[in-house]
Structure formats: structure tokens, C-alpha cells
Amino acid sequence: MSGLFDSLSVASTSLSAQRMGMDLVEQNLANVNTEGYSKRQVTLTELAPTDSLSAGRGVSVSQIASTRDAFIQNRLTNEQPGAAMDATVADALSVAESSLGVTGSSLDASFEQFFSAFSALSENPSSPELRDGVARQGEALAQMFHDIADRLATVGSDADAAMAGTVGEINRLTSQVGQFNAQIATANGRDVSSIVDARDVTLQKLSKLADIHTSHRSDGGIDVSIGRGAALVVGGAASALTVSSEPVTGRTTIVLRETDITADIHGGKLAGQMAVRDHYIPDYLGKLDTLAFDFGTAVNDLHVTGTDATGNAGEEFFSMSPTASGAASSITMSAAIAGDPQLVAASATGAVGDNGVARQIAALRDVRALDGGTATAANMWGRLVYAVGADAASAASSRDGRKAVIDQLSRLRDAASGVSVDEEAASLMKFQRAYEANARFFMTVNNALDVLMAMVQ
């Protein structure tokens, strides 16, 4: 049987335990808006009686634990690279599609104005004004090719330039993960929940930048690898990625311990930037180059068969690169024709009033003379617009889909680990009531002791 002093001791253990409960409520509420914070929970354990006639020795705090669901956390980490890649591609492609200009005032309009100028010239081939109109539309068309090619190329070069920044951010985060790992490994039993929370947040950020893989260590740390298993973080040691430039293209490459791992990265913002730089933009520029080259060639082939207003054979209307590569950037109208529109070769017979070549060039709008004889200029431009639009829509749709998955996983994570204000309010009331009851019991025992002491005196 225990004495009154033992009862005071029991009440004291409970006061401490309930106070700890209230402290944790305070901590949880304080971090209700802290990113990655996992709710702390106290586990109370009865202090068992020492003999069969004893009520017990009170209560103790046996554990303070963070509530985590490793499965959901891993799912989140695995979903982030794809979502970040889609978001990066979608953002870049929205810029790319704006680079094509507004329908009705972009390359489509330039083509139509060019053909219209030749059509008008065919009605009156000797008109100096109409000849000048042809020359001006030719210049405007070439300039439009340049503008679009330049804007598209800028999207690609911006993506390339941004890769260095992304790599720097990856290095900063992997360094943090290494530091967290070291702190956890040397904790020696100290509570590392806050460090684990911070490391989880860092890993989430890291997984948005590249397709990382994680593996747990026996010392509580997490190793991080990238691409095809190249180690980025091993325990407390983090290896830094470096960037270099390809000798020929000047494009950014990613190097880890002197090995080029650029081709091994398939997820995250970094992969999105590479996809824009290496896949989407080159594809669009290739289509634009083919359009410029085939169109320029078709016009030139007709123009050289004609005779200009001075009686000389027509020269090439456009000059450009010898192959399709880079044609959109290099196409320019013949400087001689631009300077003297009398050199526009509208005549097929040599007669000043003949319009044979002007008619043929005007009719080129309907001739499938481009892309291996399969398309008109309008067809090819439509294909490019469709390709950019479809890619942008697809990337945006994929981004939204993955975001929905991540939002759902975040809800599940919060359901497992997040702080609920209502729940904490209920806990606060629960611990407060228990504390009050134990305090009253303590006072009651104390009063009994006072009475006992008074009897002794």
C-alpha cells in the first residue's frame, strides 16, 4: 500500500505527462503552416504498481514521435520529377507557341501578301508600283521567317541557359541532404524529427529538379542517386554536378565526377529544359527551315525562268543557305531585286507585258511543291502550328493531370502527418482537463498531509 507521499509522486508524474501533452499541442499548432512538418504525438505509458496492493506509480511519457507514412512520401517523391518536367515543358511551349505570332498577322499573312503581290503584278506586269509591292512583300516574308526562327531559337537557348541555374540548385539541395544525413547519423538518440522533416522537404524540392532515387541507410540517412544510379549523396557526402559546354554546339552538358550524365536524366525540371532544348525547339526550327528552304527554292526555280523588265534573265529571288538547315534564319531577298524592282522577272516570254512567271508564282500558293511535293506553303505552316499547339496542349494536359495526382497525394500525406487545428484543440482540452484533475488531486493530498501534520503537532 502506498502512502500520501507516494500519491503526491503519482500526481506529479501525471502533471508532467499532461504538461508534455500540452507542450506538443503548442508545438504542433506553432507549425501548422510549416512546410513538411509532421505532427508530433506523445505516447503515455502507465507506471506499473510495484506490488499487488499498490494502485500504481502514475504515468510516464514513453515516446514522442512524428507521424509519417513512408509509402505516401515515396509516392510523392516519385511523382514530382514527371510533374516538374511537364510543367517546365508546358511553360516553355506556351512561349514557343506565342513565338509563332497571331494568326492573320504572322507567316500565314506574309505568305498571302506575297502571293497577292504577284497576283496583282500578273494583272499589270509593267507597273513599277506593283513590282515594288512584290519586292517589299518578299522582304517582309524573309523578315518574318527571321523573326519566328529567332524567337523559337531564343526559347531553346533560354532553356539551355537555365540548366546551369537548375544544376546549381540541385547542388545546393544535395549539400543540404548530406548535412541532414550527418546530423541524423550523429544524433545519438536525440530527437531528429525536425531534421527528418527538413530533409523530406529538401528531397521533395530535389525531386522536382531531376529524377532522383533514394535509399535508406541503417544510420537513418538517405542516399540519393540520379539518372542511371549515379550517386549524388552518400551518407553525409554530397557530390556536386558541374556544367560544361559541348565543343561544337556550345550546349550545356551535365557532368558528375568527370562523367557526362546528360543523357541519363529523364525527369524533373532539368529534363524538361533539355527536352525543350533538344527535342521540341529543334523539331520546330527544322520544320520552319524546311518550309523556308522549300518555299525559297520553289520561287527561285520559277523566277530564274523569267525575264525581268530590263530584258535580262531573272535571277534567284531569295538567297539562303545551300541546305534546309538554318534556311529560316538565312533566307533573304535578293539585294539586287530589292534595290531595283524592275529586276522582278514577271515575264515568261520576254515581252514587257507578259505575266507568265508572275502567274506561276502567284499560283504557287495552291501547288504542292514543298516538302517533297506533298504540301503547299500554307499546308506546311499549318503543320508547324498544329505541332506546336498540340505539343503545348498535351504538355499542359499532362501537367494538370500530374498536379491532380500530387494534390491528392499531398492530401493523403496531410491526412497522415499534417496538423489539424481541430484535433489539436481537442487534445489541448484533453490534456488541460487531465492537468486540472491531477492538480486538484495533488492539492487534496497536500491538504490531507497538512491535516496529518497538524495532528502530529
Partner: protein, 295 residues
């Protein structure tokens, strides 16, 4: 399972969704455009480009048809006048044949024939906006001129055509020589000069030969005017077809690109309601927690 409802995150998500829908509907209603960028509807955007190209082509053909119609009208007037003048010449020559006609009447007839010759020359040298209509491709030259005392065709044998539709061309520059001379050994001007000599000298055989030449020239001018009339009718038909096609193509383009205003305004109203509801719901629930009830 714990339900941990993050009012702000969920609420902001709903607000963002409603806001995006409202913005989309507002833009559609304000701009009247359903497609503002290719990704809004890639297939429709590409198809709309094709329709716009077709509209531009039709516009050019309409312009060419209008211009050609004006030229043909001018050429038609000239040919009509040539036919009138040839009729006048035939009548004049027929009237002075025979032994009863005196020298003064024949001289007057010669003067009339000279006037006919000059008028036909003026008709064949007709220009439209500075371009000779009957000099073939040499539009900068008058068709006929007296060079060194010889009537000379200064144009060429080409005809100038324009496209008034994809498979429809009309001639807007004519080979004047085929009208003035055709397959004859001499042109109408030389024939008229010879006829004037025959009339004033009372050379009946010469007048007979001249009448034959006039008749042949009359036939050639009639044929040329007939062909021109066919082209004029064809242009009128083509213009009607082009207008109908333009209307149809523009309707297809509009269906692809333009917003259905009634639908856009309805969606804007719905999105506005949803947006206000999301704002209200967040502001209402954000205030609530168990802490408000614990005393």
C-alpha cells in the same frame, strides 16, 4: 482515416479553377475568338489557317476578275467600234461602186474610208491603265503604227491571260495582228489604203478586192468580240461563284475560330457565379475551428 482539411489550400485551388474559367469565358466574350493560341484547339487552329489561305486566294481571284472585267469592257467597246466602222466602210464602198458615181462622190467616200482607217487604228491602239490591249505582250507599244510608210504591227503574237480562279483564265491582252490581218497577206490598214485608192480612181476590181478584205476583217472582229463576250460572261459567273465560296469559307473559318457569343456569355455568367461561390465558401469556412467553440 484522419480528415485534415486544409481550407486555404483547397479553397485557393477552387478559387484558381473558377478564376481561370471566368478569365477564359471573359476573353472569349471580349475578343469574340474561341481560339487565341494554337493550343486552345490545335486541329481547329491548323484548319482555320487553311481556310484563311483559301479566303486570301479567293480575294485575289476576285480582284483579278474585277480588273479583268474592266479591261474586257474596254476591249469590247473597241471591238464593237471596229465592227461599226467596218460596217460603215462596207456601206460606203458599196455605195460608190458602179459607173453612175461621179468623182466627187468617190472622193468623199475616200475621205470617209480614211476616217474609218484612222478610227480602227485608234481602236486597236486602245490602252487600259497605260497598257495596250491589242499589242500582245508588248503592252508598252501601240499595236499599229505607220513606220516608213508601211503599216506595222508593233506587238507580238502572245496573248496575256490572268487567272480569275484556279482553273479559269481569261485573256486581257490580245494579239491585235490576228484581228487586223489574220491569215491575210495584208492588214486591214493597208487594205483600207488600197481601197481608198480604188474608190477614188473608180477601180471596180480593186473595190471588189477591198470589200472582200473588209468582210474578212469584219468576220475576224466579230469572232474576237464573240470570244471576248464569252470571257465576260465567264467572269460574271466566276465572280458569283467566288462570292459564294468566300461566304462559305468564311463561315467555316468563323465556326473554327470565333466564339459562340451566347455560349460564351452563359459560361461567363456560370463562371462568375462559381468564382463568387468559391470566394464566399473559403472566407466562411476559414473562420471556423474547434477553438471557436471551446471556452
Amino acid at each position: 482515416m484522419r480528415i485534415n482539411f486544409d481550407v486555404l489550400r483547397e479553397g485557393l485551388g477552387a478559387i484558381n479553377t473558377a478564376s481561370a474559367q471566368l478569365q477564359q469565358a471573359q476573353l472569349e466574350a471580349a475578343t469574340g475568338k474561341r481560339i487565341r493560341k494554337p493550343s486552345d484547339d490545335p486541329a481547329a487552329a491548323a484548319q482555320a489557317l487553311a481556310e484563311r489561305a483559301e479566303l486570301a486566294a479567293i480575294d485575289d481571284y476576285q480582284h483579278a476578275a474585277d480588273s479583268a472585267a474592266s479591261r474586257l469592257s474596254a476591249a469590247d467597246l473597241a471591238l464593237g467600234d471596229i465592227i461599226d466602222k467596218l460596217t460603215q466602210a462596207l456601206s460606203t464602198v458599196t455605195g460608190v461602186r458602179g459607173s453612175s458615181v461621179d468623182a466627187s462622190a468617190r472622193a468623199a467616200a475616200g475621205v470617209t474610208l480614211a476616217g474609218v482607217r484612222d478610227a480602227i487604228r485608234g481602236d486597236l491602239n486602245t490602252s487600259f491603265q497605260g497598257n495596250s490591249l491589242f499589242a500582245g505582250g508588248k503592252v508598252d507599244q501601240p499595236a499599229y503604227a505607220l513606220v516608213g510608210g508601211v503599216w506595222t504591227y508593233q506587238g507580238d503574237a502572245n496573248v496575256v491571260q490572268v487567272d480569275v480562279d484556279r482553273v479559269r483564265t481569261v485573256t486581257i491582252g490580245f494579239n491585235g495582228q490576228s484581228i487586223a490581218q489574220g491569215g491575210e497577206a495584208t492588214d486591214i490598214f493597208t487594205s483600207l489604203d488600197e481601197l481608198i485608192t480604188a474608190v477614188t480612181s473608180g477601180d471596180d476590181a480593186g473595190m471588189a478586192a477591198g470589200l472582200e478584205a473588209l468582210n474578212h476583217a469584219f468576220d475576224r472582229a466579230n469572232q474576237a468580240q464573240g470570244r471576248l463576250g464569252v470571257d465576260e460572261t465567264s467572269i460574271a459567273d466566276t465572280q458569283i461563284r467566288l462570292t459564294a465560296r468566300s461566304t462559305a469559307v468564311d463561315a467555316r473559318r468563323s465556326k473554327l475560330e470565333d466564339a459562340n457569343m451566347a455560349e460564351a456569355l452563359t459560361r461567363m455568367s456560370q463562371a462568375d457565379t462559381a468564382y463568387k461561390a468559391a470566394l464566399g465558401a473559403v472566407s466562411a469556412t476559414e473562420k471556423l475551428s474547434l477553438l471557436d467553440y471551446l471556452r
